[in-house]
C-alpha cells in the first residue's frame, strides 16, 4: 500500500437495493421450524430435548461444552416432532430438530433480562444470547469478544457497510432499531473497556448515516464513518483498513491489531437480549431477486423453511433457477427451497434462468484485471495456475490462504474463469498439506 492508495482495491457492482424503503414486516409463525445444530463455526451442538418434549420460545434446545460454540434456542412454542440427520446446504450431515409450533408463542420460564455488571457477566450474556457473527461468518460472538489481549483492543467497529447487492436488512435494522444499536454499542464499549467505537456505513445509505450521527452527537467516543459504496467494503479486513488504516498481518486476527468488528444485527440482537432476555430466535432478512413476486424485508423466525418465507412474499413470479442464501457476491446457491433459515442468513434471493446461466469459460488472456481488483492484493491468475500444477510452494509464496473469497477476481474476469472458486480449492489444498 503506497501513499497513493488511500483505499484498498475494490470493484463497482450494481447495487440493486430495491428494498431500501420496505419497512420490515413480521412473518407469522410457521407450522413447523427446523433448527439445525450447526449454525456457527466451531463445535456442533447436541440436542438437549427429545422427541415428544414440549418446548417454549427462547428455551435452549441445543448446546455443547465446547468453547467455540453458541447455544441454539427454540424459536417457537410447541412439540419436538423429530430429531434426525439431514444434509445442510454446505454439504455436511447435521442434526435437525423439528418443532411443530402450537402458535401460542408462549415464552419460556426464566426469560428475563440478564444481570450484566462487569466483563464476565457481559460475556456470559453474550454466550447465553446464542449470538454468532450475523454478517456471514457465524463465528461465536462470545469468543470474538474475549481475545487474549482484550486490554490492547482500542477500537470496536460496527459493520454497517452492507456492500452486497440487493441486501437491505442491515440498513433497515439501522433505521428501525437504532436505539438498540447505539445502546448495544455503548454497553459493549463499557464492559469490554474499549475506548473508541466506529460505525462504518456506505454512503449509499445516507439516511442511516444521518440518523445515527444525530444520535451520537454527544458521544465523542463514537464515530459514524461514511464509506465509499464499493465492494467489498463490508469485508472485515477492508473495513478495518478503512476505519483505522491498519491491516492484519497474514495468520493474525483483528484483535491482534487492536480491533474487534461486529455486524449491525449482532449488536442489535445482543442489546435485545440484555434488555429483554430473549435470545436470538428471529432474523431480519431481505427477500428479493427477479423471481420473487413481492420483494420485502421480513423478520422471520430462525428455522422457518425458505419456501414458506418466499410464499410470504407472494411466492415466485417466475420459475426460479437459482436460490441464494446471502448476496450474489458471496452467498451460497442452495439446492432445495425446503431448507430452513439459519442465524447468519441475511438474504434469500431467487433468480430466473437467465440469471442462473453460468457464462462459458474461455482461456486466461493474462490481462491482470483480477490482480488489480483483489482487495488483499493477491494475484488470482497466478494462484489459479499454481493450483492447476498442484504447486504447493508456489501457492504458499502467493499467499493463497489470505483470500477471503470475496469474488472480485471472478467478477472482473473477461475469460469468465471461476478464480475465486479455484482459490478456495487452493486454500483447501494448502490446508491438507498439498496432498494430491
Amino acid at each position: 500500500m503506497s501513499i497513493f492508495n488511500k483505499h484498498l482495491p475494490a470493484i463497482h457492482v450494481e447495487h440493486h437495493k430495491n428494498t431500501t424503503d420496505s419497512a420490515t414486516v413480521k412473518m407469522p409463525v410457521p407450522d413447523k421450524v427446523y433448527l439445525s445444530m450447526v449454525q456457527h463455526i466451531g463445535a456442533p451442538c447436541q440436542p438437549t430435548v427429545a422427541v415428544g418434549d414440549l418446548v417454549k420460545v427462547g428455551q435452549v434446545i441445543g448446546d455443547t461444552d465446547a468453547f467455540v460454540s453458541a447455544p441454539i434456542h427454540s424459536s417457537v412454542s410447541g412439540k419436538v416432532t423429530a430429531i434426525d440427520k439431514s444434509l445442510t446446504m454446505t454439504g455436511i450431515w447435521d442434526t435437525i430438530v423439528t418443532i411443530a409450533a402450537d402458535k401460542t408463542q408462549e415464552v419460556a420460564e426464566g426469560i428475563k433480562p440478564p444481570v450484566v455488571e462487569d466483563k464476565a457477566s457481559f460475556l456470559k450474556a453474550v454466550r447465553d444470547s446464542g449470538l454468532v457473527g450475523l454478517g456471514g461468518a457465524a463465528f461465536p460472538t462470545h469468543v470474538k469478544f474475549n481475545p487474549k489481549n482484550l486490554e490492547e483492543v482500542d477500537t470496536f467497529i460496527i459493520n454497517g457497510a452492507e456492500c452486497e447487492p440487493y441486501i437491505t436488512a442491515d440498513y433497515r435494522t439501522m433505521m428501525e432499531d437504532s436505539e438498540l444499536l447505539i445502546n448495544g454499542l455503548k454497553n459493549t464499549l463499557k464492559y469490554l473497556g474499549i475506548k473508541r467505537g466506529v460505525i462504518g456505513i456506505e454512503s449509499n445509505k445516507a439516511p442511516a448515516i444521518a440518523k445515527l450521527r444525530e444520535m451520537v452527537k454527544d458521544d465523542p467516543e463514537i464515530e459514524v464513518l461514511e464509506l465509499v459504496p464499493v465492494y467489498p467494503q463490508g469485508a472485515e479486513r477492508v473495513l478495518i483498513y478503512e476505519a483505522t488504516g491498519r491491516s492484519i498481518p497474514p495468520g493474525k486476527l483483528p484483535a491482534d491489531i487492536g480491533v474487534i468488528v461486529s455486524n449491525v444485527s449482532s449488536i442489535v440482537a445482543l442489546q435485545t437480549f440484555i434488555e429483554t432476555g430473549m435470545p436470538l430466535i428471529s432474523k431480519k432478512i431481505t427477500v428479493d431477486g427477479n423471481a420473487i413476486r413481492t420483494p420485502k424485508n421480513v423478520e422471520v423466525l430462525i428455522g422457518t423453511p425458505i419456501y414458506k418465507l418466499i410464499n410470504f412474499c407472494d411466492g415466485y413470479k417466475r420459475v426460479p433457477k437459482k436460490i441464494l442464501m446471502g448476496g450474489p457476491m458471496m452467498g451460497r446457491a442452495i439446492y432445495d427451497d425446503g431448507m430452513a433459515v439459519i442465524k447468519n442468513n441475511n438474504a434469500i434471493l431467487a433468480f430466473d434462468e437467465e440469471f442462473a446461466t453460468v457464462p462459458k469459460e474461455t482461456a486466461c488472456i493474462n490481462c491482470g484485471r483480477c490482480t488489480k481488483a483483489c482487495p488483499m492484493m493477491l494475484m488470482p491468475t497466478l494462484i489459479a495456475k499454481a493450483y492447476e500444477c498442484k504447486d504447493l510452494p508456489a501457492l504458499e509464496k502467493l499467499h493463497a490462504t489470505l483470500c477471503m473469497e470475496c469474488g472480485c477476481c471472478t467478477y472482473v474476469c473477461p475469460a469468465k474463469k471461476q478464480l475465486g472458486f479455484i482459490n478456495k480449492m487452493a486454500k483447501q489444498f494448502i490446508m491438507e498439506g498439498g496432498k494430491k
Binding site: 500500500m1 484498498l8 447487492p165 479486513r237 483498513y241 491491516s247 492484519i248 498481518p249 497474514p250 493474525k252 419456501y307 411466492g315 415466485y316 420459475v319 426460479p320 433457477k321 437459482k322 436460490i323 450474489p328 457476491m329 458471496m330 452467498g331 451460497r332 446457491a333 442452495i334 439446492y335 432445495d336 427451497d337 433468480f351 440469471f355 442462473a356 453460468v358 474461455t362 482461456a363 486466461c364 488472456i365 493474462n366 491482470g368 484485471r369 490482480t371 488483499m376 492484493m377 493477491l378 494475484m379 491468475t381 497466478l382 509464496k397 499467499h399 489470505l402 473469497e405 469474488g407 471472478t410 467478477y411 472482473v412 474476469c413 473477461p414 475469460a415 469468465k416 475465486g420 472458486f421
Partner: protein, 318 residues
Amino acid sequence: MGRYMQGNLVVSPSPHVMDNITTTGIMRDVLIALAPAFVMSGVIFGSRAILLTITCIVSAVVFEWGFRIVTKKEQTIGDLSAAVTGILLGFNLPSTLPYWMAVVGSFVAIVVVKQIFGGIGQNFANPAITARIVLLVSFTTPMTTWSLPNRIIEASDAVTGPTPLGILSMGTDLGSLPSNMDLFLGYVGGSLGETSAIALLIGGIYLILRKVIEPSIPVAFIGTVFVFALLAGQDPFFHIFAGGVMLGAFFMATDYSTSPLTTPGKIVFGIGCGVLTMVIRLFGSYPEGVSYAILLMNILTPHIDNMSRRKIYGGGKK
C-alpha cells in the same frame, strides 16, 4: 406455489454476478482503436495498404480456424484476437510487400507463435512482432523497400525512398528529414500503419479511456524514448513520432500475455522497451528498433513478473 429442489435449481460457486466484460469485447475495442490508423494508412499509402492489411486479417483468421480444426480444439476465432493480430501485422509491413509474403507472416504469427504455444494468452512473444521480424530477416529487401506517401511521390517522382529514421541512420542527407508535423500526421515513408502518430494516439487514448490498457506501458515507453533522445542531443519529438514507437507503445507492448501483470512491472517493461529502442536506433546497424525492443522485453516478462510481485495486504513476506 410448488417447491423447488434438487434438479430444478442451479448450484454454482459464488459470485453469482459477473461484469459483462468479455475477451471478445476487449478485442473489439482494440479493433475500434486501430480503425483511425487503418483509415490513415489508406489515405497515406493508397488502396494497396488497405488490401494488404485485409489480406493479413483474413489469412490470420483462416490460419487460426484451420489450426483449431486440425488439432481438434474448440474454435476461438470468435474472440477476435486473430483479427487483431492480423491487423497489427499488416500495420508493420511496407505497403508494397507481395501479398504472399504477408500470408507467410500471418502463418508465423498465428500458427508458430500463438497456436503452437497453446493459443490466446499462452504465447510468450507478441505474434505480430515476431512475424514481422521473421519476414524482415527472410525477405530483407521487400521488407525495407518503403513506398513513399502519395503526397511526396507527386513532388519528387520517386515511388520508394528511405524512412525518416533511415535518413537519420545514414546521416548523409539530414536536410531531407520531414517536418515534425508531417511525422505527426504520418505523411512519411514507413510501415503502412505506423506512420500516423495522431491516428495511433487517438486509438491509444480510446483504449485507456475504455480501461482496456493502463497508461503505464505507453507512458513509460514513449517517455523513455523522449528523455533518451533529449539526453543524446536529438529532437525528442522526432523520435517519438517517427518509426514504430506510437504503434509499438500503445498496441504491441501492451499485449496482455506478453507484458507484466502489475503496474510497477509494466513501468519497468515500458522503460526497457524505450531504452532498447533508442540504443538500437542510435548505436545499432538497424535504423529502427521498436520490434526488437519489444520482443526482447517480452522474453524478460516472466522475470519482471517474478520480481514485481505486489506487497500483499498485511505486508506478508514473499
